[in-house]
Symmetry: none
Subunit: 340 residues, 2 copies
DNA sequence: TTTTCCATGTGAGTTTTTCTCACAGAAAAC
DNA sequence: GTTTTCTGTGAGAAAAACTCACATGGAAAA
């Protein structure tokens, strides 16, 4: 009766040799002689009763049976290596790859990340501008802040924040070409952070201005670009209280109208289950949530409401003021992939 | 510089002990002494620099660090075991445990299983009468034919057959006490294959006889028992074209009315993903589907329709003949767990 | 064509790992 | 309280892993 598992050390030698395509290279990797690898491969072939390599010519070539075995073994050892690497790794040192929606990365995370790195100097963050959930599973990133509906199977996922959308523009632009009513938007370039103008359509619908003639339009692939264009006075973009909050607070962007539109989607934090269990990931995720709370506690409530109230006194034309109904002020919403 | 992988044999001992929650049980499983397991766990803890078990009381309890490690290791070893099992196992030899709904097992699979075993004499089938999906995951059975809605997570699942229900009774019984109309059912014992009479209620509703007075009732835990009672002339049960088809074809049961009722649930074939990949499971599953096709091809279409048409000529009272709408004849439906 | 380099295979001997055995203490069951 | 069952431990035995030295053969360079 053969045991459930093959001899594991010979299996390790097989995996290294197959991956490297060379007995000598595997030997070097595992810090043993080539003879040891050769013996181990033979031992495994004998235990399994199959030929794992074709031996024709100087170098080994994987047999069809060996090719069947390699993927499962590679994955298995990969999983073990990752899990034990986590065990060896102290809670507050090591590297962490973080994926983040581009606009959020530029306008929220990057201005704040020094708070995290100062608190955890042993952690080396690697930031990736991306809204691709597949990068979580493929291990390109360890933790991701994604914009979407949160339905990513096989991941640990938690809602980070809902959003609301509203128009933003550079104060310089609005000084030279004021926005007194929604109709005045036709005099400005509309800056889209999505490719089909869905965000702006949603806002116009809520403003009962879906059929209003529009001026020139600029379409960009993500909200970071449209926001940057707005910052440069190119036109009016749709912002949200999270990514645009600091820009608004610093007066780099102003909010001409009181109307906000809730997004269908939201920001979520996601990671693989095994990563969620790692202390280094946990401290970063905890930091994300507490940072958001701190942002939404005394300061952004003040700045967002003061700001929007200022605008409503100036541009109350056919857009009605939105009742500030919650202590969190007007949450900003946005369309899927548009915040990306 | 620690190697990429921890010592693999100690890791195997850890996994077995953690899974079993017992050093002695792990020792038995791996065919070594408990002392060997104890040493190996210690060696692993030393190599990783962590404590994997809490040692308070008699038995081991997984520590938080151990709990971090176990899932990855279990999965890794599961993948290796599956891959190597494939290598060792010829396609048409070995043992396969099959779970099957009791009625289907007795009246469909057992009369046919010789066809499979004759075709694959090297395969040793083990049959279990059960409709419990948990047995698939817990490895008590390798493949299961289950009656339900097909929603069993973590399993490979494929629809095998939909069903329709209709009354069946022994010809001997009907000779002495004929069924000329639905009202005549009150003169017979109603044989239930479920505990709440839901099947018969469904059929009576379709027959516009939900309020018809009913005679004596016998409730059984599964359709095999109710069918067997019908075979013994105890009364009228609800049958279906799959489990009752052969009985009907052989004249052991007759169908007094033309009305059939579709089931909410169906028969599904289910197995663990790793089992699905095994050639031995694949040949059995393929055989199941081809056998069903062969059953529904020329012969059962003929026998089922001839049979039902015979009844409609005899008992057309207030039950209207069902239009034979498909080449597969009248499919038989039944209620969840009732076919069990 | 010959020479050189580099690859893997192999058997015997050495080292390391795995395992057994016997004893021990403690917890749990009776 | 006694008995059973559990895990831990050190020393020694057995098995696995590894080294070493020799061997063969393929491929590239001269």
């Amino acid at each position: 009766m053969p045991s459930r598992l093959p001899p594991l050390n010979p299996l390790r030698a097989f995996e290294a040799a197959a991956r490297r395509g060379s007995v000598s290279a595997a030997a070097r990797e595992l810090n043993v002689t080539h003879g040891a690898i050769s013996h181990q491969i033979r031992a495994l072939e004998e235990a399994l009763g199959v030929t794992l390599f074709e031996r024709s010519g100087k170098r080994l070539k994987l047999s069809s049976q060996g090719a069947l075995l390699l993927p499962a073994v590679s994955e298995a050892f990969g999983g073990i290596a990752a899990a034990t690497a986590l065990m060896r790794q102290p809670a507050t040192s090591g590297s962490l790859a973080v994926g983040c929606v581009p606009a959020l990365l530029s306008f929220w995370l990057i201005p704040r990340v020094n708070r995290f790195t100062e608190q955890y100097p042993g952690i080396r963050l690697s930031l990736v501008a991306s809204n691709d959930p597949a990068q979580v599973l493929s291990r390109e990133v360890d933790v991701a802040i994604l914009y979407g509906d949160g339905n990513w199977p096989d991941c640990w996922t938690r809602l980070w924040s809902h959003l609301r959308l509203f128009p933003v523009a550079s104060p310089t632009l609005l000084n030279s070409r004021p926005l007194r009513s929604v109709r005045d938007l036709a005099d400005h370039m509309l800056l889209h952070g999505d490719r089909d103008g869905r965000e702006w359509n949603t806002w116009f619908a809520a403003a009962d201005a879906i059929d209003l003639p529009r001026g020139p339009q600029l379409f960009t692939s993500d909200a970071r670009l449209s926001t940057e264009a707005a910052l440069h006075g190119q036109g009016v973009a749709l912002g949200d209280t999270i990514t645009a909050a600091q820009l608004i607070a610093r007066g780099e962007l102003v909010v001409p109208f009181d109307l906000t539109v809730p997004a269908n989607d939201a920001f979520y934090v996601a990671c693989r289950h095994e990563v969620r269990a790692a202390p280094i990931a946990r401290v970063f995720i905890d930091w994300l949530f507490t940072s958001l709370e701190e942002d939404s506690r005394p300061e952004p409530q003040t700045s967002a409401r003061m700001l929007l109230r200022g605008r409503s006194a100036r541009a109350m034309d056919d857009v009605q003021p939105v009742s500030a109904s919650s202590g969190k002020g007007t949450a900003i919403s946005q369309k899927r992939k548009a915040r990306g």
